[in-house]
Amino acid sequence: MRILRPYLYLLPCVGLLGLFIYWPIVYSAWLSIHQTNILNGRSRYVGFDNYLELFGSDQFHHSLWVTFLLMLVSVPPRLILALALAHLLRESHAFARMLRGIYFLPYVTSSVAISVIWSWMFNTDIGFINLTLGAIGIGKVPWLQDVNLALVAVGIVAIWKQLGYDTLLFIAGLNAIPDDYYEAARIDRAGRWRRFRDITFPLVAPTTLFLLVVSVIDSFQIFTLVNVITRGGPANGTDVLMNFLYYLSFTLFDISTGSALAVLLFLGLVAITLAKLAFARDKVNYDLS
């Protein structure tokens, strides 16, 4: 009894995590190599047919491309803007603290509610953005009806939502750089740009890499913004991979192909995480001394 006691304390937590997080990985792998009829529950082994079907489908290639584009329009601007902001907002006066709070606010709020507000703002006829553009003489921009603009619109909301989080992590990264380095650089009369290039940039590289990986992983999983603002449209212009996964699995109820897609995405994300670990060990300067 005494020996079992620790395991009794762990059982609810570890049991639930095992059942709802670890077991699904195994079960997904199994589902992805079987053809399962969701109505009668019968399954038949099909090897890699589900994967081949996925690789042959235009919609998969399209979704992969759209996800990549969304990543491209949202991640780099976010990181660059956040690093610039972090330089100012790391100061400790009340105004900097207030701005830090303001930038962070969207990160904790409901994605659905903010998506609804933004979809009104982007509305062609009645949205705030076009009303403002109209007032300064620019005609109506079909934000959510144009294939490319819709992706940009979703990208803007994604940047807006995550910017505060990135900024906070950059502030932490900047604060971890010892002031001595800058003082030494000043004595050597290194200019603003030199100080940034030779001290700040290499020393926040671990933070940058961490944020880059986290952002790439997150943007692979964007669903709510797209589902609420555009439902993947117009003309599949914002049909990201998660949207495709949802459509396959819960609209078509093709859970076999859906599982193959989920496994592929999962392996992709694991690969990114592992690559980060390997890269971080070799290339990034974690230790100053």
Partner: protein, 275 residues
Amino acid sequence: MTFPDRLLHFLGWAGAALLGFGVVFPFLIGIGASLLAPSDLLNPNVGEWSLHPENYLRVFTEAGLGAYFMNSIIIALSTTVGTMITSILAAYAFARMEFRGRNMLFWAVLGTLTIPELICIIPNYLLMAKMKLVPSIWAAVLPQLASGFVTFFLRQHFMGVPKVYEEAARLDGASHFKILVDVIVPICWAAIASMALFAFIAQWNSYLWPLIVLRGDTQTVQIALANLQASVREQPFTDWPLILAASCVVLLPSIVFFLFAERQLVQGAGLGGIK
């Protein structure tokens, strides 16, 4: 500072302040527009606008979001209570007990933080369907009753409690459970409360999993809001103020949470170096 440095600094702050205003702007304009009549949104003549605070009442009467609010509250509360119980027990075992396989199990719990939700969705859906729980609030709650993050966070705090506090209790023959409830939990109350708030808001805001397992009457307010918006997608002359009022009500808990927890969430982050 030299003059160009000062000017650059000033311009930087002006830019940051302007961008900060841009960041809160959607919230402000959303609240503002939620108080207008639908026709006002098309009327450039501000003088003719009128105030309609009753839009907020109509969220519950006309749009009927009240029942969905109750569902969200029930789901978020029960997952929060469940998560706290399972996490506190596990965190205590990891922090204060010696047993075989502790490190391995701890890494397994920590490992859940890196596993994306997307791999779990289809299997968990099939499991819930097999248990005949789809659609029901149970299906939304059951898979969310444990959290690797909360367990990890609480374990760190529990480990920080000095051993002397519990030694006196142990001399009196107190059991582990008694020490946990009477000593550890009261000392770490602030950490537990902040994790409970965190868990509640995460559940309140969640969308994808409830969307999959809930239908009709059992839906959460997030789904109901998304449906309300979808029903009028791209129709210019709809009741946007009503929809925006509903968004503001849905946003309210997370904004209150933010005001409560802003210190821990934001201001502390700059101090500890994340490296």
